[in-house]
Symmetry: C2
Subunit: 357 residues, 2 copies
């Protein structure tokens, strides 16, 4: 399942050793970097159109003498997660989670052992896994994301995040967040904006780490959401079970629909990186006054990845950013951020310091 | 539709005259009372078990030396609305709204004029309206709450709330909120708690006035919610249409399910007044540490209404509070608030001053 499982053992040992050094203690998570960030805003952004669009937007919406002044309670900003706040290539982290959870699920439900698609996932045959259909994947998602209490699910995700590592960088997934975006989150909050995540990923999954990693509380995470069912255990104690019933498909048109459901206000700032964010940016841009609409272009194969318009990787299953979206952005004056040119750092200093290759 | 329509004309004239007096200007809404409330907490509460349960809970959860101390970001409190924050008898305000919107809907859709149940509602025959089935009511709710853009809906509700009056008191519905509960909301917020409304009523309906009336922003209103559909108008401008598709039935077991969907944390304090709030209080009470669970008993026919256990009105369609719920409350140590004995005021001073009978 984890293609690096065998090759990364030495890296893991090395990282464990590094982690015990006193100088690094307490700085292992981006949250720590966030807390220690200097008060100069957007330090990891190079001077240019993108950085100044953010600074101008905040000035226009928070200066009381500005015609675009926005009352503090109206200051809502929304951020896609995968590919906007953290790495999404080569596979969405939550999909990695679901695949890696299959052995534990089969242990509890041995009848699935010889049944597809679980049999293929257990085989570890990556070519066969790459051929799994959408329906197969949905079955895996349902088996690994539903059927347990909300507390059990939270504990399972937390445990996995503390152990799992991205194969390219040998880092925890929660460390592969974009330092410039952490700075935007912080800068907007320092100026009275509420920051929301609006993700096609699972709402309950992201809520497990959103506070620690992004400083965003669970109630400000909007994601693809399934229903729960209220019930009682043998002692009469109530609990909620996660059900395989889709309430909100928080992608594309589902993003503005999800924002209406969960917030009930139109955002003033929206950040995305793919066609899944198009409607959210359109909805944000259709409001009056100053509205910030930004799309992150992954054009930095050295420090991260290159995909999207004129970058290759067009057939990728994640982060589709078509030429049509790029053209719409240019036509409507949305800001396209170049990872390569606009960011002088990609990852937090604590992550960079621990990256082993 | 409005049984007081004819008899209340003189009252309305009187109120209009009163409203023009300078001494009352700016004090017509509870929000004003809220802003001017003194800093002594819970002034409208008589000394007794209920008041002290609230004071003790706040001390236990906010004193850093207390074993029940709760971190500020975890301080979530939830409030039912109908019968807990404002009057629900003899009919839920939102149902009154839907019935009174029927003429406007029929004007736009004349084909409904001679079709049931709209024909009956238009007739104004109250006996016939009382016999409408649940299915009839659902049809009326769908016709009056869906099919328009979210902005159109907000404008329609706002306009109605500014004009409509409760027949008993001759007051706007938003003025018939409970002063002691406004004080609880404020006291909890002053102590770092986020206050949420968790209502069986319509989420979009309550969000129109929640900030002004309760100081609760729309994103902290959880209610029965329908889906919306994202689309574009002729000029390519995006908008959201309210659809007759139920996403969340926020009553009974739907309340803890709705809290999980919208907040993702278990509340520390929950306030209700009926069997519809039972699961929410159970879910709150099943958490560790200090948790406040309160039920309001309507036992004050002189100042408001009397219903619930041993109060008569047992067959009422609103605010069902069975003996079984009362027994569960006593057994689990939930606090039952007596409107008659625990509250020295029911409505805000500005409302009381303008009540004409």
């Amino acid at each position: 399942m984890d293609p690096s499982k065998h090759s990364s053992i030495n890296r893991r040992v090395l990282i464990s050793s590094l982690a015990t050094l006193p100088v690094l203690s307490g700085t292992l998570l981006p949250g720590a970097a966030l807390a220690q960030a200097p008060s100069v805003p957007l330090l990891s952004w190079n001077e240019g159109t993108a950085k100044h669009a953010i600074l101008d937007f905040v000035r226009l919406t928070t200066d009381r003498s500005s015609p675009s002044y926005v009352a503090p309670e109206e200051r809502i900003s929304v951020f896609d997660q995968d590919g906007t706040l953290w790495v999404e290539h080569p596979m969405y982290t939550q999909v990695v989670y679901c695949l890696e959870r299959v052995p534990a699920v089969v242990e509890k439900r041995p009848e699935l052992k010889d049944v597809e698609p679980f049999k293929t996932v257990l085989s570890g045959n990556r070519e066969a896994m790459a051929r799994l259909s959408t329906r197969d994947l949905e079955e895996i998602l349902a088996a690994t994301l539903t059927g347990m209490s909300v507390e059990e699910f939270n504990a399972e995700v937390k445990q996995w995040l503390e152990a799992a590592e991205d194969p390219r960088w040998g880092q925890h997934y929660t460390e592969l967040v974009y330092q410039p975006m952490l700075e935007v989150l912080r800068y907007l909050r320092d100026n009275g904006f509420k920051t929301y995540i609006v993700t096609g990923g699972g709402q309950d999954f992201v809520r497990v780490y959103s506070q620690q990693v992004y400083g965003i509380p669970p109630e400000q995470v909007i994601g693809t959401a399934g229903g729960t069912t209220f019930g009682y255990d043998r002692d009469g104690k109530p609990f909620l079970t996660k059900e395989p019933k889709l309430l909100l498909n928080d992608d594309k048109a589902g993003k503005p629909e999800g924002i209406h459901l969960m917030v009930g206000r139109r955002p003033y700032a929206a950040f995305g990186n793919s066609n899944g964010d198009r409607e959210m940016l359109e909805w944000t841009g259709a409001g009056t006054g100053a509205r910030l609409k930004m799309l992150l272009l992954h054009d930095d194969p050295r420090r991260e990845y290159a995909y999207g318009p004129a970058q290759g990787l067009h057939d990728s299953k994640v982060g589709t950013f078509t030429q049509a979206l790029y053209d719409e952005a240019k036509q409507k004056g949305w800001v396209v951020v170049s990872m390569k040119n606009d960011w002088n750092e990609v990852f937090p200093p604590t992550t960079v310091g621990r990256t082993t290759r």
